[in-house]
Symmetry: C2
């Protein structure tokens, strides 16, 4: 009987530990897997032999429940990239020597684009040397930019936190009887899925965010001012959501402070983000009270505001990865397939890892209004189900309980 090892990689999310709980649960329950190991700090734990034995005793059902509500990566993470080819096999030999010594027959890697590339290369190498192992990728990323899968575990919870926070900030922005512009900066360098999710705040009478700027469309300072002027006729407090990665026509990021005529005042570019640059621009050009807000790292770690749909699915896709590996699959990434929008139903299956590795899925044109650069109804149909349902976390001393190594 073979052993299994699990690792987490890339930027953490609020749901990546739910997938870990799913994999652990599936692996511990299987009578075809002997021992279960966690690799600390992604693939680096295997290279440095930093390994955590996981048993039904040190990871009880109660622990798994707490793990499902714990943000960040329980096993730690890395941003390690494997060599592009097999011209030098030192690293690969090191990894497979570990697999041999630990009798590993199953490797589960929970991560994003780069991690799926790791799964692809390790599986290729296993075939190359004829090593019998089942290597499966479990997707995660708040950015929702992985190809093939309908959406990624982690996106729904980030989207729910963003929509909730934007709705709350919009109320806050409306409190004084004056003209103001609030600019909320949202994560997403090349794909605007998270920024688009801010539109889910537009419910029960709330019409903010009034303007949305995605990295999928070119940002134009003149249009930005005329957009604000248009909205301002109806709303004295304008709320704007922008992706951190918006770029002007010359290809430069707005956060670099180029091409807006205000470069000289920004100083060190690491000190200000897109929202702060636009805040200064609005103040300078329009004279309104302006406020730039970064939703920052809470977008991926606010486990106090989880989407139940996301967490249930993230657990299920982790567990399904174990089932798929036990059925003999390898070199594949687990995916969600959407069967129906209403009622929302998905099916969990898998795809050849080559379809997913290194691809970056941006928002399709049908989800973006050609003129306003805002989102279309099709996006609502797509994204609304992903933020439904709440997880009320187990609390202790007034704060959520987390599982820590």
């Amino acid at each position: 009987m073979k052993n299994a090892i699990i690792a987490q990689s890339g930027g953490p999310t609020a749901a990546i530990n739910a997938s870990l709980a799913g994999v652990i649960s599936g692996a511990l329950q299987s009578d075809r897997i002997e021992k279960v190991y966690g690799s600390l700090y992604g693939i680096e734990g295997i290279l440095q032999e930093k390994i955590l034995p996981i048993t039904a005793e040190n990871m009880t059902d109660d622990d798994l429940n707490i793990l499902k509500q714990t943000p960040s990566s329980y096993l730690g993470s890395c941003r390690y990239k494997l060599p592009k080819d097999f011209s030098d096999t030192t690293i690969f030999d090191q990894i497979f020597s570990f697999f041999t010594r630990y009798n590993i027959g199953y490797f589960f890697y929970i991560g994003g684009n780069d991690s799926m590339d790791t799964v692809y290369r390790l599986n290729e190498y296993a075939c190359h040397i004829g090593y019998d192992i089942h290597i499966m990728g479990v997707p995660k990323t708040i950015d929702n930019d992985l190809d093939v899968t309908d959406h990624t575990p982690g996106y729904g919870s980030a989207a729910k936190f963003i929509a909730t926070s934007v709705k709350e900030i919009a109320l806050d922005s409306n409190v004084y009887d004056l003209d103001s512009v609030t600019i909320i900066e949202i994560m997403g360098r090349n794909a605007g899925w998270l920024t688009a999710a801010s539109a889910l705040a537009r419910t029960d009478g709330q019409c903010a965010p009034h303007l949305i700027y995605l990295p999928e469309t070119t940002f134009c300072y003149d249009k930005f001012l005329s957009d604000i002027a248009r909205v301002h006729k109806q709303h004295s407090n304008v709320v704007i959501c922008v992706s951190e990665g918006i770029k002007t026509a010359d290809g430069s990021y707005v956060c670099e402070g180029q091409s807006n005529g205000l470069t000289d005042v920004f100083g060190h570019k690491n000190l200000s983000g897109t929202a702060k640059v636009l805040e200064a621009y609005v103040r300078e050009k329009l004279g309104y009270k302006a406020r730039g807000i970064e939703l920052n790292v809470l977008q991926r770690s606010a486990a106090h505001c989880l989407s139940k749909t996301d967490i249930d699915e993230a657990f299920a896709i982790g567990k399904s990865a174990v089932e798929a590996a036990l059925k003999g699959e390898s070199g594949r990434m687990m995916i969600y397939e959407r069967m129906s929008d209403a009622p929302y139903t998905i099916r969990i299956s898998s795809t050849d890892i080559q379809n997913a590795a290194n691809a970056e899925k941006v928002i399709p044109a049908s989800f973006i209004h050609a003129e306003t650069s805002d989102i279309t109804d099709d996006f609502f149909t797509y994204a609304q189900p992903l933020i439904m349902g709440e997880v009320h976390p187990i609390m202790k001393k007034g704060v959520p309980v987390h599982l820590v190594r």
Copy 2:
């Protein structure tokens, strides 16, 4: 029978509408108050006659429940200051002319320091001209800097959001196997109550924040570096909470970028806050990966993370203000008196408004470690009860429902 008018003032909180709900509930239920009005944008609504009639029909019990979970100020707010004396009574005459025309016998003002000053002056003027009215102040502020009252409505929910977020960010900061410093900037210009609340994250195995810097103690760059070095021996990922208002010995705010030898790189001072200044400083001096995070406006508006204790108390203190006014009180601010720490019990009473107006309560010396500038156990005893209990908000389409005018 006389009418009542209610207004909200100053910066909003996540609990100020719970107090409004309490006042409305008390006023609508009383058979000694005929009509209930809301004044829009604080005292400015009275001056400009922007008035909202509130009835049991347009403000049902269901509405009041939603109001209790709605952040920001439902009636809008202002930062209006009344004249310091009665040498020119134009403004006062305008207000009391309104009171006469609308047959106002009760005025409830929910706000912070400045608002209590308004209550004081209006009550003085009422005595001065012999106008029969009961003017009561209901405290609110996330800053917890109002005198006499044990704590302020709004502080508990802000403290709970801060402790929760810091606990989540600390997990996120720990994900990679490298040296890093995370600096979390928390609101509070002169009083460190909110920054101190970050220590409530230190539970169930979490020891972050490792360092806390309050505005009550002088900030020293050299000590900052030696503090980090000390913590770093045990924790490769150092998590630091700083108040936005920390100052160096020469009295200048750290966020102004003075006196740290890095002034030239900061550019426009509005573009960066305390955390960003310290982030750049750590990177420059220690070479660690450094990250500055502002918890920003969510500290006062994250109604998705309310303290049930805070909301229940905020509602009760609003309702008690009506009872006190009906008993004949005027020119007084409602307060919480702590009867016992364990079990935590409070009593709601009132104090002469002169005791509360314009005073600013900072953290007492007994709550601050003389050497480390961290907080003492006495602070935990004080603050822990205030964040206990959760409000699970009524949700619609995956986000909390709010009551909007």
